[in-house]
């Protein structure tokens, strides 16, 4: 095929403008050219109130900055992520993922490595800054909550040892219907130091759980249920993710949070490997890591980010309800998702057996 005149003109034009662009940008010649902007990107997250708050805190900022719409889907689903990546049709630019699944996805090579030239992680704790695939958007804590009217003018349980102490602190209790958190709480109640929790001594934990079993009126399944049990006074103390208690307290329920020995979990985001919008996924994660945006999200949901400056932009009224408040932070322990990734299935099966044993 002869090289047509028009083509040559176009080619010259492209070369010329590329040279011009390189000259203007100057110091960033290694930068890949920006791909064509899509009409929208898809971000997957937990859904409901979470997606609404994500929109207000992060999606709208992304849309403003890049002029690309963010379409959100839910829920977080490891199976779907795996199927998507393995079929080579990853439509999510980024997805929320729970911390144990995040570990699994990282090891199964289902995620794009984070692009550190785009995402600024310098304001984060070291282990989070160094993770190759996961950006920790924020944290939540499984805490002890109690009825303030039941413990008015009296001491309330402040540790798991006291939660286990049914003589000094009588009344029905609730715990989550899962070994997650409860094995840790049992070991803490049995005197294990927070820094020595992992690897968990599962036998010891179940022995300690035997002691509390008949005092647990309800083993909760959903987050909504956990707070409702205290609101309805079905139990006088129980566990929940702190945001559930915060919402109930904000709505006037006579409940208080005890931060002592709460267990902190991360809520990471990642980019599915081979995502057609990975380039924009990296830019979206960059916004997730910005302290102002993290503060906006914390103000809405009480689930704060870990950027050290985020607290500066946070509404002071909400600070006491955040696990990142310095007073609260020093009382809590960190969950270890790697242990749960490796032992979760076995522990959960044992949990079901234990639950069925009378």
């Amino acid at each position: 095929m002869p090289f047509s005149f028009e083509r040559r003109v176009v080619l010259v034009g492209v070369v010329a403008s590329a040279a011009l662009l390189a000259a203007t940008v100057g110091r960033a010649p290694a930068q890949k050219p920006e791909p064509r902007k899509p009409d929208h990107i898809v971000v997957n997250a937990a859904g409901g109130a979470v997606n609404k708050a994500l929109r207000e805190a992060f999606f709208s900022e992304f849309e403003r900055r890049y002029g690309i719409r963010v379409v959100d889907t839910s829920p977080t689903d490891f199976g779907k992520l795996r199927a998507m990546v393995q079929s080579g049709n990853a439509e999510w630019a980024a997805t929320e993922i729970n911390e144990a699944d995040g570990e699994r996805a990282s090891r199964m090579n289902l995620l794009e490595p984070l692009d550190r030239t785009v995402i600024d992680l310098s304001g984060f704790p070291k282990d989070i800054e160094q993770h190759k695939y996961l950006l920790t958007r924020g944290i939540y804590t499984t805490v002890l909550g109690y009825r303030t009217d039941t413990f008015a003018g009296k001491p309330h349980p402040q540790t798991w040892a006291e939660f286990w102490d049914v003589r000094r602190f009588p009344g029905p209790r609730s715990l989550r219907n899962s070994p997650i958190d409860n094995l840790e709480f049992a070991l803490l109640a049995d005197g294990v130091k927070p820094e020595n929790l992992y690897p968990l001594d599962v036998d010891r934990a179940f022995r300690k759980l035997d002691e509390i079993k008949k005092h647990v009126a309800v083993w909760w399944t959903t987050g909504a249920q956990s707070a409702q049990l205290l609101i309805d006074k079905e139990v006088v103390m129980g566990t929940a993710w702190h945001g559930r208690f915060y919402t109930a307290i904000k709505d006037g329920a006579p409940i208080a949070i005890e931060w002592g020995e709460g267990l902190i979990h991360r809520t990471p985001f990642g980019i599915p490997r081979g995502s057609k919008d990975a380039y924009w996924g990296q830019r979206f994660l960059a916004i997730l890591a910005e302290p102002q945006a993290q503060a906006r999200y914390a103000n809405l949901m009480s689930y704060p980010g870990l950027h050290r400056d985020a607290i500066r932009y946070t509404d002071p009224k909400i600070l006491p309800f955040l696990p990142t408040h310095p007073e609260n932070l020093k009382k809590q322990a960190w969950a270890n998702p790697a242990w749960w990734f490796e032992n979760g299935e076995k522990a959960t099966e044992r949990w079901s057996r234990w639950m069925l044993a009378r």
Binding site: W219, T221, D232, E234, T348, S352, M355, L356
Partner: protein
Amino acid sequence: MVATAAATLGGGRSRPRRVLRAHAGTLGSGSVPVLFLAALFVYPVARLMLFSVEGGSLKHFERALLDGLHVRVFIDTLRIASLVTLLSFLLGYPVAYFLASAPRAWATAGLLFLIVPFWTSVLIRTYAWTVVLGRNGVINRSLIGLGVIEEPIAMLNNEIGVLVGMVHVLVPYMVFPIFSVMRRIDPSLAQAAEGLGASGWQSFSRVYFPLSLPGVLAGTTLVFILSVGFFITPAILGGGRVIMIAVLIERQVHEFSNWGFAAALSAVLLAASLAAYGALSLALRDRR
């Protein structure tokens, strides 16, 4: 599950032979639903079942059938599903009878009342029961207030709560098929029986009830099959103590992405449901 149930519903309708003959000429149009079921139901189920024998090994089935935990949960699931089916029948049959014999306006109003709850999500209806049945719930507080009891009765976070919640959701599935069969029973048959000297009870038990059995079969099958797969209601109203097989399957899929084992559990559940259906329809056929 629902697709099987729907298929059963169609097959369980009364006077099947006459119905079949009437449609024999339109076999061409009959193959459309068959194709539909094959593509959207049989094929995916077969694919799922293939997961359970991945690598040509039966290890997933070994674990599903020999492990004490899973066997126990299977038995509990079938027991609870049977109880729910029985309770739904005891509640639903009189309702269907009343609606089928009531004047049209009453029947329409009654059916409307049965349908309205379908617009509320199962989750919300389940939480509503926690308000009614709880330790500080409506019933317990009223009874304590009236001095009938001193300590609250445990109706929630145990099997009672699960049964109440499940029956509430499933009763309409019992009523509708029974109602539709009853409506087509010729009232003159019962009159004829009475004319020949049968008492009211005899004419019911020997004429009316046997004629309504196809509806009962469809209703019990539907309710039984739906209840073995129940998930969120037992989890919440059982307070964690009542474990049904759907909970274990969900965990395998969601928490551990062990699709092979989840498929094996599902296969066993499907086989148990089909066996129960087969036994039930045989038993009812003998009575006819």
